[in-house]
Amino acid sequence: MTDSKYFTTTKKGEIFELKAELNSDKKEKKKEAVKKVIASMTVGKDVSALFPDVVNCMQTDNLELKKLVYLYLMNYAKSQPDMAIMAVNTFVKDCEDPNPLIRALAVRTMGCIRVDKITEYLCEPLRKCLKDEDPYVRKTAAVCVAKLHDINAQLVEDQGFLDTLKDLISDSNPMVVANAVAALSEIAESHPNSNLLDLNPQSINKLLTALNECTEWGQIFILDCLANYTPRDDRESQSICERVTPRLSHANSAVVLSAVKVLMKFMEMLPKDLDYYGTLLKKLAPPLVTLLSAEPELQYVALRNINLIVQKRPEILKHEMKVFFVKYNDPIYVKLEKLDIMIRLASQANIAQVLAELKEYATEVDVDFVRKAVRAIGRCAIKVEQSAERCVSTLLDLIQTKVNYVVQEAIVVIKDIFRKYPNKYESVIATLCENLDSLDEPEARAAMIWIVGEYAERIDNADELLESFLEGFHDESTQVQLQLLTAIVKLFLKKPTETQELVQQVLSLATQDSDNPDLRDRGYIYWRLLSTDPVAAKEVVLAEKPLISEETDLIEPTLLEELICHIGTLASVYHKPPSAFVEGSRGVMHKRLPARTGSCNILIMSKLNSSLLSPQLGGDIGGSPAMGAGFGAAPTVMPASLNAPVGGGLGDLFDLGGGVGMPMGAYIPPKTVWLPAMKAKGLEISGTFARRAGVIQMELVLTNKAMSVMTDFAIQFNRNSFGLAPAGPLQVLTPLGPNQTIEVSLPLSTVGPVMKMDPLNNLQVAVKNNIDVFYFSCQYPISMLFVEDGKMERQVFLATWKDIPNDNESQFQIQDCHLNSEAASNKLQGSNIFTIAKRTVEGQDMLYMSIKLSNGIWVLAELKVQAGNPNYTISLKCRAPEVSQCVFQCYEAVLKN
């Protein structure tokens, strides 16, 4: 006999009938009735009206019946909060039942009743269950704390349940430990600042021990929790890795992925020359490959994660290309992901195989897959230069198939190939032009038009081709319109005589007949350029553009790091940070990989790290073509010129002077009075310091405010922090008459005796003349000591930054500064503060700078500039942290003047 009979609906008055049955004296009848109620509930009928009657059945000695009533309670308690209180007594009683199954059932159900009123009644039973002798009850109670916390966090804290929960991490039973960890992690996730998971080497050790003994799910809880820990140093990191690696052999894919997460995170701290580092890398590949034999959904999760891992550590899977070959019966979502990874792994060594596969895929029937395969061929051409020719010929073969969407995709990627290898494959243009008519997708049309415009001088009928597009100008999409405008202007600049009419036409279409602001603006720019100075127009429009970069769809490094910390989770599948799709997580800290030495600014490190790993991400200040794409997370191939002009590019085009592009001289503070006349018998000395052409100079103004002539000037310095000393005598050759003023420049050397001063940049000076000796002290801006060869190599910077302990880092705010990052960088460079790298994260520019002092001390800086925010943040790191304050003052002075 099956349960399905309970679903057969009776006639009207069903509720009424059920009510009668529920109140029957016969136990069997009661049970049948409750089953019917549950069946109705299951099919979505509202049986909440029966609440009191069902709750009446709660006190039963029949376990099955009890479970059903509990189930009912969970469903309807919320809609009947007042009546739910009726159940409290039974819960309390059941929590003391001799049978642990009942105690656990009660405590489990209690927590699922989300009625605020009754939660406080549940605290006492919960407290008892947390200390129950039976581990089955304890593990259930542990979860109940998380449930209760979700309903009333304050109550849980007040009752001290969190401490009890923390104690359970040391429980003797592995299942209890695992659930306690899970509950604490869950609570910590929703209360990021609670510092609940106060992980330390001792608690980590306990977790690692429990890891060997608990169920597969418990292992996942523990591994996910471990992943939040940051080891103190590389040795601790290695020892945790060693104890986690065996999990890679677990049959459950989720255990494997969570273990991979921990390893990927902790290996960040291991020195790369360590043998163990290499061993670990080798151990990661086989389990990742095996994940591809799992169920398709798990394969999908694995592939999305492998995509991240390949970007972070390409060496792990570089020999495993073949396992990503697509199988006929793979689901489409698996196929597309495999394709993506194939391109990432493509290299000169395996390109032949990859291309053969891609060609095969391009003749499949699934449109999305075929399109992606065609695009992949283009990406291979751009990525592996040696293969470009074969890729192009493969694409031409595909164009010959005349399959509409294949042709269009092929043209789009050929455009990009042209942008990477200009003037190399234009022989194929004729073939492309044959297919002009079949292009109906905007992207393909725009690509074709771009090609025609770019190579207009080699295409005899370029004007006819472009003209044919012009007829339906207003029906085209914006990208086609913009491209058409540009292409015709290019054509005109190349063949001005025959195309004057055409260019007039397109300019008026763009400026007069269109209301699209981009199109109009671009139209006007061209128009004015052409009418003002055709030669300049040619130089601007037809200028050589930087080549496009190889990999344009890499995930931005900080995001990649964060995603690596979320391996296995939805974030890693979406390739988005949790804050992008989880409500209420905006304020939550983004996870970061730990730094190698465990004690330095991880952000900057990993960033530089990744740019070192892949040189194409390098990019000097001012931006290499790759930089915009690599750092800016531009999802598709974009003309690099739009993202980041090559060094000085803008400056050449528009001589704006001032703020942009032009390095400026060193900052010189205004002169101040150092020695008032009153104190020096009529001699007033004011002055400042400057660094000119590498020479430090003290610029003095001596004024004689006395009645008599002053002669025999001489100057001497006291010992000072940086050994400043006059490099020659004070050149006041003529006597200084009353009310006379003389300006003198005194070159300084830095080889004098050294004594640490307070403040550091204090200088005590003695000036003598025929009247007396006068003493004063002044402060020089430390920027005088910044030498010209203070630009540190990128690699050295990275290493140095890591090397300098964190305690030496100081942070300052510079308020009210209205420069953009480029102007700031230029300004600073004038004072020998060199920007080594720049990157942009979410509208915030980060500048990494180095300074070398005349005595050889290096100062490293990270300057954060947020667009629209006049307050900068600067972090300084130096082996001699005492200079930081002075350096900061210089920053402030330089930037604000």
Binding site: Y6, F7, I38, L63, K67, C112, A182, A251, T569
Partner: protein, 423 residues
């Protein structure tokens, strides 16, 4: 951490049964699931993860059911999928088959199981053998032997209960190797992989300690016996009963086995072996008139082994008619529902070569629908033989009562995902 709620839906998207684990989401949100799926299907798109607003649905399909987990947090997706598959397994152990009917027929037990296997989104005990000890299908009275949670649930050995007794103690081991093969249309081997699995059927009393010895290359290298014939296991996965850290340390496979049937371990080898059964094919399509197929099958293993139940599936266009076959051995069948010819050879000894020819008519009006180029697939099994050469050297069984127990080992090689692309 994982799921806020789990739903079991029928093919139309109607909720058959559900369980709200965290109470932090509106259960009605699941109504958006099926419309999204339909929209994706229209776009020939598919994804195991669909989103509606802040709700994320992770789903798998089993027969005529969808199992859907719903969450609004950054859940561990791998855990969720793995858990959903585990649920299917548990239900199958309970109800033989999991489908719409079995859910309706057993809804009380389904509720009980859902209550037990997950709590607040955290998976708990999912070992069906252990679950069966305290979630049984008849009602219980508390006073007369109401079940208690077996200590096993929370024990470190959570997969085997104490006090198991058999009169005769035996262990049966099956070493099964599946060959996955992918051959390009030009006849070059793109991928060849062996996925092995060691399955156990354990009929042992008490809490026996088992130790399994294989001719594992790494182990032999450690112990300095490099001369013997060994196998290099590329990636090994173990049942949770195997002590992983022990294996990591000295390659010893030691464990207390679960009772009854289970998969002890699986492994993967990437060694390129000669494809066991090689197929050469010519498929010629003369539009509007006919299709001619020539297939040559060659067995490339030693003649003392024999492949059984060989089935070679050759794809044909979906609109063919009037099939004609000629074979040198075995029989042919046209399977219209699969658009394929199936060539069956009951027994295929090593070192032999057989031929098959097929002829089909084609309608004069050609269908406009493009057909994918499906690969030829081959199914077979070869008993008493492993491709990798893996051997069970010993299986030591120690139980404190000191009984003698016999291990039995069988070897078999079979086709896995065995595909040869066609032109």
């Amino acid at each position: 951490m994982s799921a806020s709620a789990i739903f079991i839906l029928d093919l139309k998207g109607k909720v058959l049964i559900s369980r709200n684990y965290m109470g932090n989401m509106d259960m009605n949100k699941v109504d958006h699931f099926m419309p999204i799926m339909m929209r994706m299907e229209e776009d020939a798109d598919s994804s195991p993860l669909v989103t509606h607003g802040s709700a994320h649905f992770l789903w798998i399909k089993h027969r005529n059911l969808y199992l859907v987990a719903m969450t609004k947090k950054n859940a561990n997706a791998a855990l969720v999928y793995s858990f959903l598959y585990k649920m299917v397994e548990v239900f199958k152990e309970y109800f033989k088959e999991l489908e719409e009917e079995s859910i309706r027929d057993n809804f009380v037990t389904v509720y009980e199981l859902m209550d037990e296997v997950m709590d607040f989104g955290f998976p708990q005990t999912t070992d069906s053998k252990i679950l069966q000890e305290y979630i049984t299908q008849q009602g219980h009275k508390l006073d007369v032997g109401a079940p208690r949670p077996p200590a096993t649930v929370t024990n470190a050995v959570s997969w085997r209960s104490e006090g198991i007794k058999y009169r005769k103690n035996e262990v049966f081991m099956d070493v099964i190797e599946s060959v996955n093969l992918l051959v390009s249309a030009t006849g070059s081997v793109l991928r060849s992989e062996i996925v092995g699995s060691i399955k156990l059927k354990v009929v042992l009393s008490g809490m026996p300690e088992l130790r399994l010895g294989l001719n594992d290359k790494v182990l032999f290298e450690i112990t300095g016996r490099e001369k013997s014939k060994t196998v290099e296991l590329e990636d090994v996965k173990f049942h949770q009963c195997v002590r992983l850290s022990r294996f990591e340390n000295d390659r010893t496979i030691s464990f207390i086995p679960p009772d009854g049937e289970s998969e002890l371990m699986s492994y993967r080898l990437n060694t390129t072996v000669k494809p066991l059964i090689w197929i050469e094919s010519v498929i010629e399509k003369f539009s509007h008139s006919r299709v001619e197929i020539k297939v040559k099958a060659r067995s490339q293993f030693k003649s003392r082994s024999t492949a059984n139940n060989v089935a070679i599936m050759v794809p044909v266009p979906s609109d063919v008619d009037s099939p004609k076959f000629k074979t040198s051995t075995g029989s042919c069948k046209y399977l219209p529902e699969k658009s394929a010819v199936q060539w069956n050879i009951k027994s295929f000894p090593g070192g032999k070569e057989y031929m098959m020819r097929a002829h089909f008519g084609l309608p004069s009006v050609e269908s406009t629908e493009l057909e994918g180029r499906r690969p030829i697939t081959v199914n077979f099994e070869i008993p008493y033989f492993t491709v990798s050469g893996i051997q069970v050297r010993y299986l030591k069984i120690i139980e404190k009562s000191g009984y003698e127990a016999l291990p039995w080992v069988r070897y078999i090689t079979q086709s896995g995902d065995y595909q040869l692309r066609t032109n």
